[in-house]
């Protein structure tokens, strides 16, 4: 499940025509990631910039503050974090919907300009969180699909209706949906329409921003299963943004944890869950409510409130809530470093591989997770 699937080996799905990606660019070198981001930063200036300059202040909300990321073909990477972590903004930047103020995004080894060409734009498609605002209320489902299919000439004009039907079948909707308006659908069905729309342009990467958070629990399962099946059938790469680690565990191969605009840990999913190395990750895992949990009032996993993204702490940004913060953490900003002997697992913490961390982890291990 973790190995990316090269195009030739992809299993033939039920519906021919969907899998074929015309003009697909094979990665320039084996092992080259499909989508890579290097030193991405996205800032939002606020207030009067003139005054800021006069006062030598920086009035910038650093939503994403220097992120490196890679997704291999066919891989499912999760971007996990709480509010203020910048995960949604990063997703928008990767999908080309928000300009990055620094850094670059590469697709199959090729750097993408700030204003993407249409052909590049269709490679990375997005599914949004709110099913009630992600579909144009004035267009029928068929109309939405037709517009996209025609704009990119995905299939010849005569085949548009048929292809639309195939797309809907792929997400489990019947052809009656073609003439229906979004308001006639429930939340779960709308998300399916949104997924069908995202697949219409035959992307290589699907970015899903909290695709199930707005849905009822029993409906979430349908959408999650659908995403998993689509990945397997179409060999899609998936970038899943979620705050729900249980969802992540079901879908993803690798996980990157974000905090205040930076990735602070990235590792294969099971490894992250069994041996987290960053104090924040440990706290996050311990904080997840579990069915097997007992009501208790011992101190919470992560104390205090997250700092405002407008005033990011100096040095390590997690130090204000970290149980093992030292003097060094206040002055030096830790860099994402590979674990000795395990290059796939990287952490941004000065003390990740020291006894200091493992001791603190040891105390927690006993009581908090299975």
């Amino acid at each position: 499940m973790t190995r990316p699937v090269p195009p030739a080996e992809r299993s033939e799905p039920d519906l021919p025509g969907i899998a074929a990606v015309p003009g697909a660019e094979v990665p320039s070198a084996p092992g080259e990631p499909l989508l890579a981001a290097h030193d991405i930063a996205v800032w939002f200036p606020y207030g009067s910039q003139l005054v800021a300059r006069l006062r030598h202040e920086e009035r910038l909300l650093r939503a994403v503050d220097g992120v490196d990321l890679e997704i291999a073909r066919g891989e499912a990477l999760a971007l996990v974090g709480e509010s203020g972590s910048g995960k949604s903004t990063l997703a928008l930047a990767l999908a080309g919907l928000r300009r990055a103020d620094r850094g670059e995004v590469r697709f199959a080894g090729r750097a993408l300009p700030a204003r993407r060409r249409r052909a590049d734009q269709r490679r990375i498609q997005m599914v949004f969180q709110d099913p009630y605002s992600s579909l144009n209320p004035r267009l029928t489902v068929g109309g939405m699909l037709r517009e996209l299919l025609r704009a990119h000439s995905v299939v010849p004009k005569s085949r548009v209706a048929e292809f639309s039907r195939e797309l809907l079948a792929l997400v489990g909707l019947g052809e009656e949906a073609l003439t229906a308006y979004p308001r006639q659908f429930s939340g779960g069905q709308r998300q399916r329409v949104a997924i069908a729309r995202a697949l219409a342009l035959q992307p290589d990467v699907l970015v899903a921003d909290e695709p199930v958070s707005a849905l009822d629990v029993s409906v979430q399962a349908t959408i999650l299963n659908l995403l998993r099946d689509l990945r397997a059938e179409l060999g899609l790469s998936l970038l899943l943004i979620s705050h729900n680690l249980a969802v992540v565990r079901h879908l993803c191969d690798r996980v990157a944890v974000m905090y205040l605009g930076r990735i602070i840990e990235v590792a294969p999913a099971e490894q992250l869950f069994s041996t987290p190395r960053h104090p924040y990750t440990r706290g996050l895992l311990a904080a997840i409510p579990k069915l097997s949990q007992v009501a208790d009032d011992t101190p919470a996993a992560v104390l205090g409130d997250p700092p405002s993204p407008l005033r990011i702490p100096s040095g390590c940004r997690f130090r204000t809530r970290c149980p093992i913060a030292q003097a060094r953490c206040e002055t030096e900003d830790p860099v994402l470093t590979a674990t000795p002997g395990d290059p796939g697992h990287r952490v941004a913490c000065h003390f990740a591989f020291t006894p200091l961390a493992t001791e603190a982890a040891g105390e927690r291990d006993q009581q908090d997770w299975p």
Partner: protein, 334 residues
């Protein structure tokens, strides 16, 4: 005086709409023992929020309690008028909501909002009420209470606002606090803090909780008892751990199976097929039968009120043993 601080007896809430009468809450009976937390779980449209509002007496205009009793400390609240209810609401019963920003007055300082309750309901003087507010603020974990007393709600973060709301809820030393999805809008780490806070407060002051949520693991963390609602009715009740590990109603089983649980990664999540029924014309017999894997002939015709089972549990399912077996089979699988 019974051991139950709150008791619902066969509560019925109906909403008059253009299309017909919606049976939002249908024959719900529930007991909340003193000092304990009861979780009320269900998805949207199950009637759980409406039940809370009925208890507090803040139903929307078109809705009405048509029959049944709401006994607070043995006293029936249903026939009471607004004035009398006001008397009771502050001191004995309070509520915390999902969105603190809409529940807090944005133009009133936080300290005053917390102090308001004791002033109005307990007759405290201004200074005494302010003292109490400060005390409550440190109790709920708001740092630097003296300074924060004078702050406005928008100056607080989401988690802190929730703590303010809890402080307000505690201000008159109530016997029971009704919680309507209080942590749904919060980040995981903050949710963890708030849940532990609520657990601690329950233990320290003996206040009872009715905790409404759609999130099963959250219920497990805070409550001792669990009641599951579907289409306006209660379908299962019992000790929280027992109900979650050994569900005796197909809907509960469905909820447990469809929710991604962090600890137990299933091969495939099992969604519940179909969608919730109309509450104007619900299906005959058991309301869940159209979506139920274990449905039989009698499920289509026989009414299914909650039935007591040995061991303090209750279920509305006529064939609960099948469901129990399925759950056991689930657990047996690696």
């Amino acid at each position: 005086m019974s051991d139950n601080v709150l008791e619902l007896r066969d509560l019925n809430v109906r909403i008059a709409t253009r299309r017909g009468i919606v049976r939002a809450v249908d024959g719900v009976s529930l007991e909340v023992p003193r000092g304990e937390a009861v979780g009320l779980v269900g998805e949207s449209g199950s009637g759980k929020s409406m039940t809370l509002r009925a208890i507090l007496g803040v139903l929307p205009a078109e809705a009405r309690v048509t029959s049944g009793q709401i006994l607070l400390d043995g006293r029936d609240l249903v026939p009471l008028g607004n004035a009398e209810l006001n008397h009771i609401r502050g001191p004995k019963m309070s509520m915390i909501f999902q969105e603190p920003m809409s529940a807090l007055n944005p133009v009133m300082r936080v300290g005053r909002q917390i102090a308001e309750g004791p002033e109005v309901h307990l007759g405290y003087s201004r200074s005494r009420a302010a003292e109490r507010a400060l005390e409550l603020m440190s109790r709920v974990g708001i740092p630097d209470p003296e300074r924060r007393f004078h702050a406005y709600p928008h100056e607080f973060s989401g988690g802190m606002r929730q703590r303010v709301m809890i402080a307000i809820a505690l201000s008159c030393d109530p016997e029971i606090i009704l919680c309507d999805e209080p942590t749904t809008a919060l980040d995981v780490t903050i949710q963890d803090q708030i849940l532990r806070l609520l657990t601690r407060l329950c233990r320290e002051s003996g206040v009872s909780l009715v905790f409404v949520t759609h999130d099963l693991p959250v219920v497990a963390q805070v409550c001792q008892h669990l009641a599951v609602m579907y289409a306006g009715q209660l379908v299962e009740r019992g000790d929280v751990r027992e109900v979650l590990l050994d569900p005796r109603h197909p809907y509960t089983l469905g909820l447990v199976r469809s929710a991604p649980d962090f600890d137990y990664v299933r091969e495939s999540l099992m969604p519940i097929p179909g969608s919730p029924p109309s509450l104007i014309a619900p299906p005959p017999g058991c309301r869940f039968h159209p979506r139920c894997d274990f449905a039989e002939e009698d499920c289509r015709v026989t009414e299914t009120p909650l039935r007591m089972l040995p061991g303090g549990r209750a279920t509305a399912c006529l064939h609960y043993e099948r469901c129990s077996e399925a759950a056991a089979a689930d657990r047996a699988r690696p």
